[in-house]
């Protein structure tokens, strides 16, 4: 049988079967079409404006390395006029981050982009190694996730940059959609698919130009472009829920390659079906052509992407237990609007009827109001932001550790 030719150029021999749609392409056409699709995402969503200074959240992993490489290429090819810089977070995880940061440093030289590294130590006075020493491996991802979100914003602010791009890919977004359905978190579901998060109230906006790019294609692109990236997973434990959702979408991808993209599409559409999330909540003020913006303090997308093939564990069991307990408490609740049976004649009246308050109480389930953390000034829907709350807990334990 004659070797099949590339479906696009019809000249070169087909070398790659695209994971996304099983099209057979040659190396050059694959690279080109991969870049073109990201260009399409960027232009149709109007992600950037000419002259914008953009920080690429770089971890040294495949996603952010490919993002940096593609953005550099597209910036030059299409004249975006972007001022691109690399922004890395040093969580302080020996044997993981110190090595991957070396990769980012090499990338900075290769791509000719300035690199800034912000450390947890300088921001919070804690490294992740120290956090794990204090609280153990269980639940440390919560700390790391909360700290990282703030760290990227603060790093960007230090550089006077208002836009951070991250390497979240279609698999990450699909996984988050499934995960939010599994843990029945509708408000996160409504935000998780937005390509841009953080609106004009927050100082730094985030976007995900690789939102529609398959993880497998990112790996292929990195391989064929011979990009240098760091592929070791974080040494601390991952979120179990994400692992379970990831396993599921990998299965679905095998059955139907388009499934990942189809989940992203469903997630985008379902965001508008969440009660209380009016279609106009995107903050784009009716400009339909512009990318919808999710007003989110936290976007609920895990950042470390190091959870391949993990099985559900403690987290799902904990949620199961919590729901069960809530149900049991609900059964114990008394309907106060029910009529109290009148005491039988001769029985002493032990209960006195109280007037029922008719004024509606402030509802708890309303939309969150974005304010500022009283301690650090970071945007927060609570009085004290998540990072400061976590730090308070950590600092309380510190003296004991030192003894």
């Amino acid at each position: 049988m004659a070797p099949s030719l590339c479906a696009i150029c019809k000249i070169e021999r087909a070398y790659i079967k695209r994971p996304k749609n099983h099209a057979k392409l040659c190396r050059e056409c694959f690279i080109r079409v991969f870049e073109d699709e990201i260009h399409h995402t960027i232009t149709s969503s109007k992600l950037f404006y000419p002259g914008e200074k953009v920080a690429i959240g770089a971890s040294g992993g495949k996603d952010s390395t490919v993002l940096a490489s593609v953005l550099k290429t597209l910036n030059e090819r299409h004249g975006y006029g972007l001022d691109l810089v690399l922004l890395s977070i040093d969580e302080g995880i020996t044997g993981y981050r110190d090595d991957s940061l070396q990769t980012v440093k090499n990338n900075a030289v290769q791509y000719g982009m300035p690199l800034t590294i912000v450390g947890y130590k300088e921001l919070y006075d804690w490294t992740m190694d120290e956090v794990v020493q204090t609280i153990g491996k269980k639940g440390n991802c919560t700390y790391c996730g909360v700290f990282r979100r703030q760290a990227l914003d603060r790093g960007a602010k230090m550089l006077g940059i208002k836009h951070v791009v991250t390497g979240h890919n279609a698999d990450d977004v699909a996984e988050t959609v499934m995960m939010n359905l599994l843990r029945a978190d509708l408000s996160r579901l409504s935000r998780s698919t937005s390509i841009v998060t953080g609106d004009n109230r927050s100082e730094v906006k985030r976007s995900k130009p690789l939102k529609y790019a398959y993880e497998k294609e990112i790996v292929l692109y990195a391989f064929h472009k011979k990009l240098e990236y760091f592929s070791t997973e974080c040494i601390y434990s991952p979120e179990a829920f994400r692992g379970s959702a990831r396993g599921l979408i990998k299965q679905l991808e095998k059955v139907r390659p388009s499934a990942i993209l189809d989940i992203v599409r469903s997630g985008e559409d379902m965001a508008r079906l969440v009660p209380g999330e009016s279609p106009s909540s995107c903050g784009c003020k009716g400009q339909k052509a512009q990318a919808p913006v999710a007003a989110a303090v936290e976007e609920g997308i895990g950042g470390c992407g190091s959870t391949n093939g993990r099985t559900p564990g403690g987290e799902m069991a904990a949620l199961d237990k919590q729901i069960r307990e809530n149900e049991e408490y609900a059964e114990l609740e008394v309907d106060v609007t029910k009529k109290i049976p009148k005491p039988k004649q001769g029985e002493k009246e032990t209960q006195r009827e109280l007037p029922i308050r008719t004024a509606s109480a402030p509802s708890k389930g309303g939309r969150q109001v974005l304010g500022q953390c009283k301690r650090c000034g970071y945007m927060s829907s609570q009085e004290i932001c998540q990072a400061c709350t976590l730090l308070e807990g950590l600092n309380k334990n510190r003296p004991q550790i030192q003894i």
């Binding site: 590339c6 479906a7 696009i8 695209r18 996304k20 749609n21 099983h22 099209a23 057979k24 392409l25 056409c29 079409v33 699709e37 399409h40 995402t41 279609a170 499934m178 359905l181 599994l182 843990r183 029945a184 509708l186 390509i195 939102k211 529609y212 379970s244 599921l248 979408i249 299965q251 679905l252 095998k254 059955v255 139907r256 388009s258 499934a259 993209l261 189809d262 989940i263 992203v264 599409r265 469903s266 997630g267 985008e268 559409d269 379902m270 508008r272 079906l273 969440v274 009660p275 279609p279 919808p292 559900p312 799902m316 069991a317 949620l319 199961d320 237990k321 729901i323 069960r324 149900e327």
Partner: protein, 403 residues
């Protein structure tokens, strides 16, 4: 499911009645057979009560020609797949009728039970014989078997457009095998379209048999699976129409149909247990009882032979076993998604669900446009069809019908 008491130790008492030995697990409570059966009954009776309130008994003219009109009996249609859930629903509806009759009251409803069979593999006589044991066991209900090919002439599907999108001539009406062979060959597409056709038949039969509601046997687990599988198929936007109880309109149907899921509060594993507890057991009425009880048992040889639904069933069998509350939470939460429809827009030509204009406008994840190539004889003509199809097919139907 069944709790084994350890040899030697005294049997554990039922946590509800505290008199009989606990033999079953009811949402993490050890209960006896009677309490377990009562639990299943209560859960279904509660939903049937809601259904009874939503459907008023029909008013029929006085047979004598004069005098006041008479109040008739409610009429329902039950879709019987011959699986565990719909068989349990049949039994529970029967028990409900018998209970009312035993109290000297009239039967609360008349029931027509319909089994749709795929006439590509099954002859009408085989389908009829499958229902024989049911007819004997439930003599008060009417049983029908109906071929899947009858969907090919239903007015609720836009056949001319659908056939032209599949490159089939508009007349004569194609045979079912011709139609199915014109679809993408994957099991994911085939089974999705078959379930859509089945749904169309059930909805139209509900009207043609003058039934007031279509009853479907979906368990909590089935609704959770449906939530995730519809999401995976890109049908997130129409999810509230698929999983919620309520009126459903289809193009060219004379009136909306009330669709109801009376078993939405019972887990699949509980229904499986229930099939063994009736006398005689229901297991004799379920042809493929082993597969229904244990979806993970048969090995996957090729992922292409699996449908999205099968992936979900396998996934949820595992989740249901270990974390039943998570399953219930998914079903409960997805039921909170709201239905959005644009009155100016026509429904999808195939599934009949509302089309999502805004979603199309926002979608930036076009799947490798133009590079699908000539792998399976895909030509420019194929591309044109795809573009045409997009105008009258929803995202999920485009994916299943056109690949």
């Amino acid at each position: 499911m069944t709790t084994n008491s350890t040899a030697g130790s005294s049997p554990q008492l039922c946590t509800k009645c505290r008199t009989q030995e606990a033999t079953h697990d009811q949402r993490s409570h050890a209960v006896c057979v009677d309490c377990f059966t009562k639990f299943i009954n209560t859960k279904s009776v509660k939903q049937l009560g809601i259904l009874g309130k939503e459907t008023k008994p029909p008013i029929i003219p006085n047979p004598s020609g004069s005098g006041p009109p008479q109040i008739g009996t409610r009429r329902y249609l039950l879709g019987l797949s011959l699986g565990v859930s719909s068989t349990c629903l049949l039994q529970l509806l029967h028990e409900n009728c018998q209970f009312q009759l035993s109290k000297g009251r009239p039967a609360p409803f008349e029931l027509t039970v319909v089994h749709i069979y795929n006439d590509t593999f099954t002859t009408p006589s085989t389908a009829d014989s499958l229902l024989l044991p049911h007819k004997t066991r439930y003599p008060t209900f009417t049983f029908l078997s109906h071929p899947l090919s009858s969907s090919l002439t239903l007015p609720s599907i836009d056949w001319p457009s659908f056939l032209s999108a599949l490159s089939l001539p508009p007349s004569p009406v194609p045979t079912l095998p011709t139609l199915l062979s014109s679809l993408p060959p994957s099991q994911a597409s085939q089974s999705d379209i078959i379930s859509l056709l089945t749904r169309h038949i059930l909805l139209s039969l509900t009207l043609s048999t003058s039934s007031q509601a279509l009853l479907l046997g979906h368990s909590t687990t089935a609704i959770a699976e449906l939530t995730l599988s519809q999401t995976a198929k890109g049908r997130g936007f129409s999810l509230p129409w698929t999983i919620n109880d309520g009126l459903l309109s289809l193009p060219n149907l004379s009136q909306p149909v009330l669709v109801f899921h009376p078993l939405r509060d019972i887990l699949r594993k509980e229904l499986v247990e229930f099939t063994k507890l009736t006398s005689p057991p229901l297991t004799g009425l379920i042809p493929d009882v082993e597969k229904s009880n244990n979806p993970e048992a048969h090995q996957v040889l090729n992922h292409k032979d699996l449908s999205i639904e099968e992936v979900m069933t396998r996934y949820f069998a595992d989740v249901e076993r270990s974390y039943p509350s998570v399953v219930a939470n998914v079903a409960r939460t997805s039921a909170r998604l709201v239905r959005i429809f644009d009155e100016d827009r026509k429904g999808c030509g195939l599934c009949g669900m509302p089309m999502d204009g805004e979603g199309d406008e926002r979608w930036r994840g076009e799947l490798g446009e133009g590079d699908v190539g000539d792998e399976e004889g895909e030509t420019e003509e194929g591309e044109t069809r795809r573009r045409e199809g997009r105008r009258w097919l929803c995202y999920g139907c485009q994916r299943s019908a056109l690949g």
